[in-house]
Symmetry: C2
Subunit: 100 residues, 2 copies
Amino acid sequence: MTTTARASVQHEDDQVRVTRWDFEPGTRTGRHVHAYDYVVVPVVDGHISAFAPDGSVSESHLRAGQSYARPAGGEHDVVNTGGAWLAFVEIELKGSSPVS
Amino acid sequence: MTTTARASVQHEDDQVRVTRWDFEPGTRTGRHVHAYDYVVVPVVDGHISAFAPDGSVSESHLRAGQSYARPAGGEHDVVNTGGAWLAFVEIELKGSSPVS
């Protein structure tokens, strides 16, 4: 059974990296740190849970076309906790201060 | 009758401006010049036509979640030439060289 969301880089240049993420129900990104500020554009409605290293969980209801922006430095494992496939497009802003 | 697409700024900071565009069939952005490099994320499938000042027309079939990136400087009037409502989210990269 696949447990990992599928990442597809659609575009990358000096300024930006654009990655589409497809999640079957229950799949996850794996824990990662955001090196750059980023914008997320949901492609469909869905529900995700972001598990932080300190054990806290952040629940989000995604709506197609309702973007949100987040700063670099966040660390989490994002899981599709809805009952259906979901996808979003992540735009990482490489001009922002990188976080290692 | 409304002839203009509806623009909604969802986020703006020093690096980026994120604008959702909603187009009923036949509506248009109006002619504009892209001051910055930009990424477009279609929210639904659709068909657009971009009319350039020289009279040329560029036709594009949009697919939900299939983004594309374009450089600053493009000038056009974008029209929803499909039969249904469409929407996309535009991410302008303010770190790119501005074009006036």
